[in-house]
Amino acid sequence: MSKKLYSQIIVFAMLTVMLFTFTVGAQEQVELKFLHRWTQEPDNGFFEEVVAEYEKQNPNVKIDMQVIANDPFKEKIKIILGTENAPDVFFTWPGEFTNRFIRANQIMDLTPYMEEGWGDTFINSVVEPFKYNEKIYGAPYRLDAKVFVYNTKIFDEVGVEVPETWPEFLDVLEKIDNAGYTPIAFGNMFPWAVSHYIGQLNAKCVPYEEYMADLDPATGDFAHPGYVQALEKYAELTPYFNASANAIRHDEARANLINGQAAMMYLEIIEIPELQKTAPQEFLDNYDVFVMPDIPNGAGDQSALIGYPEGFVVAANTKHPEEAVKFLKYLTGKEVGKKEAQDLGFVNGIKNVVDKGEIPESIYSTTQLVLETERLVNWFDSSLHAEIWSVAGSELQKITDGVTTPEAAMERIRNAAEDVRAQF
């Protein structure tokens, strides 16, 4: 071996050792993997800013942010969670969607941290959905609920008032229909849309405790007659939807609302900031909201509102639980919440996160509507076991088309629930 080659090897070896030392040094920094589901602007940029600010405040933490779009998220999270690449802090929908991961020990119990005062910073009804078996597993990022957004100009023109009870509602719809407008814009190509109607109607037709017990896949039998009643009420609305609701996407139907062709649409309040940005001024000057009217003989809680927070959780197998919880606290805390409300128009679960006047009035007032509600009821699709929902989603589309009856549909949903119970 030549002397030159020998010295080259030594230099190379030394460089390698140095490189390793640097890497080891760098590893003392904590790296957190953070996963959310907002690929679009302004949301993704908002998270980038939040992460940058957090890294500035905590120089020892490096946050590796990843994004997966809404629909693929539901599938990919299930794959990632089983691997070593699982994110430390990630987005989730509370309810059965999250509960299945809790049952598989994939999500960290946050109760000890919540009991140290963190829990008191949240509005109780907003953190409640993150509980499973009396323990708290997540923190709310934004509040959501479903309301009818209606065109006040059409209501005035037809001469109808906001309905408070079901018979009044049908009367209003009939009058609007006769006046030549589409009473309700509805895009149900993907049946999560109908699940929001049914979740709300179930809450009004079935006693709360019984509904909650049925949503537990181990015990749910959906035996209460209120479920059929809820489907019947829904079937009464179907003549007032635009034609071919099952062939139209939600956003396409929404275009009919903001163009003034349809009088109302059942929308999530988180869609309102988007309306503010995209709808014509003509519509923005003439809209208001109302909640699903009461069902006079419904056995459920008439004041219950369908709507649920979305939030973030910490993976059970995270290597840095303390750092992950600290980041989660920041992410769902007051400072970020204020920015979130102002930049995006979303309200998180912190008490008094914004004051009146700090955000647009329409967003503030709909948020108050949700906060004043004592009982939020989860979306029907994400609260059901996936196998029951797959049957229910199809049956609900059939009811929308009028090709099955509420009794027959409920029978199939009960059978699906029975099959699922057998697995537990």
Binding site: E75, I79, F101, M189, E395, Q397
Partner: protein
């Protein structure tokens, strides 16, 4: 002798990396898939329960499975008629002497749809079939003067055929180009002989062209049939199996089972069935083409 032997080993040595690669990424996963199909398991929990053949038995009792199988078969049959049948007619017409230099133009026109990403085509056809804004209904309205607003993708009886029609639009030109390549390899002398014998253009196509490209017709048929049973993207980007599970094919049914119902073992069993179907088709193809050569 020793030299020869050594050479033999060297050859194997060169095969080893490729073999390992194929084993790791093709054969072992197939075997694993069959292994997993005997369990109840999901992707995010380490526990799995052995359930024997019950996944397979459940599949055969599931109505969506039969809907899917029928839809795949429709796709295969219609694709054979249009992509291979019509593609063949187009190929022969474009290569005949009727057309001059403009044949290149038509070849490109017919081929073009197949280079567009399926997701883009899917979105485009979603709007073509749209009840209110759609091109198709607008065309029908011109001729019927009715307020025709049929939701092609909203009705279980038409949705799957609407999607199949989209695939015909997209891939007929692709199969056509494959057939054209085969036609161009036919020696000109055969046509000259046929002309001397007084054969018409139709007879030349029937007795010279088609027998000469028999192999390619068979290959394209097999590609089409196997493609029909592996179908996924077209359905997934347009309807995702709806309305009420009427447009599911085996691929989307498998996907939904795996990632939506969290039943990985069950999905593996569906994958096993898809494998059995495509594998059998391939074996038949190889058998027929071998017999043809002999």
């Amino acid at each position: 002798m020793i030299v020869l032997k050594r050479k033999k080993y060297t050859a194997y040595l060169f095969i080893v990396p490729a073999m390992l690669f194929i084993l790791t990424f093709v054969y072992i996963p197939i075997i694993q898939n069959f292994y997993y199909s005997f369990f109840r398991m999901n992707s995010y929990s380490p526990t799995k329960t052995f359930v024997g053949l019950s996944n397979y038995l459940d599949i055969f009792q599931n109505e969506i499975f039969y809907t899917a199988l029928i839809n795949n078969t429709w796709y295969a049959v219609i694709s054979l008629i249009f992509q291979v049948g019509l593609g063949l007619i187009l190929a022969i017409t474009l290569e005949s002497k009727i057309l001059g230099r403009e044949r290149k133009f038509f070849r490109t026109i017919y081929f073009l749809p197949s280079v567009i990403a399926i997701a883009a085509v899917g979105l485009m056809f979603y709007y073509v079939y749209n009840p209110n804004l759609g091109l198709l209904n607008a065309l029908i309205r011109i001729f019927t003067e009715n307020d025709f607003r049929y939701a092609w993708l909203g009705h279980p009886r038409t949705a799957i055929f609407a999607i199949i029609a989209m695939s015909q639009w997209q891939f007929t030109g692709y199969i056509m180009v494959l057939l054209i390549v085969a036609i161009q390899k036919i020696p000109q002398e055969l046509y000259e002989v046929a002309e001397i014998d007084g054969a018409s253009s139709f007879q030349k196509a029937l007795y010279v062209t088609i027998p000469q490209i028999k192999e390619m017709i068979l290959v394209t048929s097999i590609i089409t049939v196997i493609g029909a049973y592996k179908l996924f993207t077209e359905i997934f980007v347009i309807t995702r199996g709806g309305p009420y599970d009427s447009t599911h094919v085996l691929g989307t049914f498998m996907y939904k089972t795996a990632f939506f119902y969290d039943k990985m073992g069950y999905a593996a069993a569906i994958a096993g069935i898809i494998f059995a179907i495509t594998f059998t088709t391939s074996v038949i193809q190889i058998y027929i083409s071998n017999r043809g050569e002999n």
